[in-house]
């Protein structure tokens, strides 16, 4: 692979320190076995899962055969990924025994342990309320998220990250185009095509799309893309946006600049097509985060970028800007009023179980007389796993960002750009969690757990790579045979 390809087509930065020179050299001279130019099956399986996430409405599909916990298509695919990981030689050694930061995985395990403890330590009450089965389902979902993250961590090498990032930009751009079509025509291509393809094995629920604001919620259209809710679709797009934005900042050719700028603009337009405030707030937070590390580049791009983006969004999703910037709607809508009451109304639950909460996965949205939809994942976590669990949850999201800091500040451009882009995705999810109950829609957390894994891999650079044990054992056996033959 050429230096430019691996280095993310980045502007050559002055490399001064020997260690950074070595890193850049290693990144540049890596073998060509990198996604998509690889025959390793695991990265391709991950790519398949990501394609499913971006194009198939997994939350609205019920398979015609059943699992003990759930019959959603993503659960089956995650089980398939785990089996493939075991069969094809997925190797935790690729993560555990390398330079890759362990902070994120430790944080995730701590959160999982606290979630289990929150359930088991108060299991009598939870069973009495009939919430145990619900909690089991939520644990299965959390297990799917963590398994996917582990899969990504152990299946990918540093050299794969750039290819996966390009792939994600492509998927998100196509998804954004689909959502713009949905906004304009009311035709949800994701639901329709999935229904046509999966008919023999699954039932696909009808799309909740409604492009007439009068029939949507609070004068807003209902545009959902491949998800059940516009917020989930927006979250997916905003977590990929920084990948394109960082490439715009680093572009060394006009073609690269234009392609990534167009992808970024389409993602913004697609997100805004949902009429959700999240589509405005999260990109702002992501841009501020990137500006923290690249202030000059962002400031230079900002004036022109804002004008062009406004034009594109206005053209692509007419009316979206007006709805999002409608101050009356922003301050007086039922959605805003409901959010204001979130914490006060959930306070009794928090104060009744302050340390470990009322039990992970025990908030039942189908019992409106008992539980609120809190529009804020942090409040949900506070209620379910208490203050300790909330701290672990926040740390789990921020751990990749923290572990990427050093890599972002390093002068090895290939590593710095990838670490910045992926960690910005994590920052996006961090903000998303403050704006709605993100774990309630599977696509958003799936994306986060993949992006968090990418951040950990990118932050470690090529030094984090290791030959999988199976391959290593094969080589050693060959060497031993050769030694015996020679003797």
């Amino acid at each position: 692979m050429s230096a430019a390809a691996v280095a993310g087509r980045t502007r050559p930065a002055p490399v001064t320190k020997p260690r950074e020179q070595a890193l850049t050299h290693r990144a540049a001279s890596a073998p060509r076995d990198a996604f998509p130019h690889t025959k390793r099956p695991l990265p391709w399986l991950l790519a398949g899962f990501l394609a499913m996430l971006f194009f198939i409405p997994i939350a609205s599909i019920e398979l015609k055969f059943h699992l003990p916990v759930d019959s959603r298509i993503d659960r089956f695919v995650v089980i398939g990924l785990i089996l493939a990981w075991l069969w094809l030689g997925g190797d935790q050694r690729a993560f555990l025994h390398t330079r890759r930061s362990k902070v994120y995985v430790t944080a995730a395990l701590v959160f999982l342990a606290l979630a289990v403890a929150s359930l088991l330590l108060d299991v009598g009450r939870i069973i009495n309320l009939g919430d145990f089965q619900l909690a089991e389902k939520r644990f299965a979902l959390l297990g799917s998220f963590l398994a996917l993250s582990w899969f990504a961590l152990t299946a990918l090498r540093f050299e794969d990250v750039r290819g996966i990032a390009t792939y994600l930009i492509g998927l998100a751009t196509l998804m954004a185009i689909g959502m713009l079509i949905e906004r304009r025509t009311g035709y949800n291509v994701f639901y329709s095509v999935s229904d046509a393809i999966l008919k023999p094995i699954a039932n696909v629920a009808p799309s909740p799309t409604n492009i007439h604001p009068a029939f949507g919620t609070e004068g807003r259209v209902t545009v959902v893309g491949p998800t059940q809710h516009g917020l989930a679709a927006t979250s997916m797009l905003v977590m990929v946006m920084p990948f394109a934005l960082v490439r715009v900042l680093d572009a060394t050719s006009r073609r690269s600049w234009w392609l990534n700028a167009a992808a970024f603009a389409l993602m913004i337009a697609g997100a805004m097509a949902t009429d959700r405030k999240t589509a405005l707030l999260v990109p702002v937070a992501v841009v501020l985060y990137i500006a923290w590390f690249r202030p000059r580049q962002v400031l230079r791009l900002a004036p022109l970028g804002l004008v062009v983006l406004t034009g594109i969004v206005h053209f692509a999703s007419p009316g979206a800007l007006g709805t999002v910037f409608d101050l009356n709607l922003v301050t007086n809508s039922n959605s805003t009023a409901h959010r204001v009451g979130d914490f006060t109304d959930v306070a009794p639950d928090v104060f009744a179980h302050p340390v470990l909460g009322r039990g992970f996965g025990t908030l039942n949205p189908e019992q409106p007389t008992q539980f609120r939809i809190n529009d804020d994942e942090y409040i949900d976590e506070l209620s379910e796993v208490g203050f300790v669990g909330l701290a672990a949850f926040v740390w789990m999201i921020l751990a990749p960002v923290v572990s990427a800091r050093r890599a972002i500040r390093s002068r090895a451009p290939a590593i710095a750009s990838l670490a910045l882009a992926t960690s910005a995705g994590c920052v996006g999810f961090f903000v998303v969690c403050a704006l709605f109950d993100a774990l309630s829609f599977a696509q958003a957390p799936y994306m986060f757990f993949v992006v968090a894994a990418l951040t950990t891999i990118a932050a470690a650079g090529p030094e984090g790579n290791v030959v999988p044990t199976r391959e290593l054992a094969r080589r050693l056996a060959a060497k031993r045979r050769h030694a015996v033959a020679t003797a």
């Binding site: 935790q92 025994h97 069973i127 145990f132 009794p348 639950d349 044990t469």
Partner: protein, 301 residues
Amino acid sequence: MGFALSIRVLLRHRWLMAVGVLVAAAAAILSVYRVDGSTLKARSLQYSSATTQALVDSPTSVLGDLSQSFEPLSARATVYANFMASPAVLALIGQQVGLSGEQLYATGPVSASQPRVVQEPTALKRNTEITGETDPYRLSFESQPNLPTINVYAQAPTTALAVGLANGAVVGLKQYITALEAADKTPARARVTIRQLGPANGAVVDGGISKELAILVFVGVFLLWCILLLAASRFREVWRGSALLQDWDEHSSDEDGHRGKLGDDASEAPLNGHGDSETHLLGTPSRQEDDDPAMPVRSLL
């Protein structure tokens, strides 16, 4: 293969694994039993539920009389369903199964036609709900708009109690209304009649929950133990490696003034495992492994 390597690492600590099994077994037992003095008593994790229906009727039943309207009775059913959650009626219901009214937790109907925001509990309402979350005897009353019926849902530790509670709810309401009518000397023709639409039926809801929970706890605790063991084992290796690294660093410093400073690529090698076959355990980056034909097989472990 990495999975197999982990199992090998765990098998090297057979005694600690045995302790892990014991700890997990103890946790599993304590999840379904509680210590009471010197004995173990089963926790009441299993519960049953039962349901029945009551018809709010007139002395000459509306079911067979076309001249009578359901509407006034439907409105009454809604009122009664709410009223049945009051302490006065709960005391009468409790009497039927030998419990006091305070031992019962009951909720009245909520109109499903109301928007979700209205149905969601306020802090004050939630406070009350939380106080009843641990009550094992629970009742819920529902009424459908335009229907003169009350659905009674009961929950109790045993099926017999749950059925008794559901039946008792209808009897309690009947007694209360009759007492009220007698006290007010309501004419017989104007009296409300509560008819139970068949006896309550119920069943165990979560049969086998104790076994399921014990297995879950055992597996969870044992897995956690294994993870801790692997982490501790790995830490011990790194700790030993770091000691060797320190020795190596000091040795190089003696030999060549400043060449052995930590932080250079070369000096990081032992922590990663290259260069020293004794300390090399699992972390050799690919490029070095390619160039090291003498690397021992045991380094995989």
